[in-house]
């Protein structure tokens, strides 16, 4: 079973996690394969591949980059702009959490930089750990 999911906007970035349900335990290795479908005529100048966590809520946001790689070499871009893979060992924390006020989310981010300064970001969420999601106190 695979976890390939298309992204709505063009270009398309499809990501395949080595764990089919996209759940990982702390310190576990993670391997990601991706495929990029570029729109006709677009030239990629750089690709950034990262594994990061961020908070999502109604207050201030926080973010931490666990792994980051920027490809700017022409020959490498040509290869990586079609398909690529990267891997890392996940850290012990922070664990994914679906809270009411704040959520902690881990994601794989593939960012493409095009000629003219335009960029495109594709994020693919996965879980680190198994912290239960918060439950709502009231159901209006």
């Amino acid at each position: 079973m695979t976890a390939i999911e298309p992204v709505r906007h063009s270009p398309h970035v499809m990501v395949h996690f080595c764990s089919p349900d996209r759940r990982y335990e702390p310190l576990q290795p993670i391997r990601i394969q991706y495929q990029i479908e570029l729109s006709a005529g677009s030239t990629v100048q750089a690709i950034e591949r990262s594994i990061l966590w961020y908070t999502e809520g109604k207050g201030e946001e926080d973010l931490g980059v666990h792994a980051f790689e920027r490809i700017t070499d022409g020959a490498t871009i040509a290869a990586a702009a079609g398909a690529g893979a990267f891997e890392s060992h996940l850290p012990p924390s922070p664990l994914s959490y679906e809270g009411l006020i704040v959520k902690v989310r881990w994601c794989v981010r593939v960012r493409l930089f095009f000629e003219g300064g335009r960029d495109f970001v594709s994020e693919h969420v996965f879980d680190l750990g198994t912290v239960p999601a918060a439950l709502s106190r009231a159901v209006p």
Partner: protein, 206 residues
Amino acid sequence: MSATTGPRHITNPFATRHTRPGVLWPLTSSAERRDVPALIAAVDKAGGSAGIEGPHGTGKSTLLVTIAAELAAVDRLAAIIQVRCRRDGLSAVRAVLRAAAGTTVCIDGWEQLGRVVGSATRFLARLRGCQLVVTSHRSVGLPLTVKTTSSLPLFTAIVAALPHHGGLIHPADLAEAFTRHGGNLRESLCDLYDRFEQRARQPFRF
């Protein structure tokens, strides 16, 4: 930007990452897109400095951040400073002292500088030949004033521009939140955030 979500990953469209200044294009109180390039041209014509004035949560910071991005695109932005307390005044003064002539320093929360630091900042900006675009709740006396006000049509347009809420938020929620928070768009969006969280976590939805 796009995010992939799974069964446990419910993206709340009212979270800060979707609503913070710079993500949404600023709208007028009649819910029309603000013509920011035209606004910058008007600021230039008026001498290069402007005050964006309006009550809390009416889109001042959103407009300022968009102006700053437009200026940055043509290498005319010296700095954008968020002033939250008097101590941050030092950052504003430093930004003006470092600004090249002809560039603009954007300051969010001008009234937090206080009268003395505010006057000093304006004096230094004149001396350096740089411009100021600032946000404030009251008049700051800069050559051009841009007023921001909120309205229910504006709030409705903002919500429509956010990622879809999957039918969990109803038109009546918008009116209720907007009224409850006295037209403060930021607080109204936080209200919708809470409603979304509560409804998205009902057992039958999980």
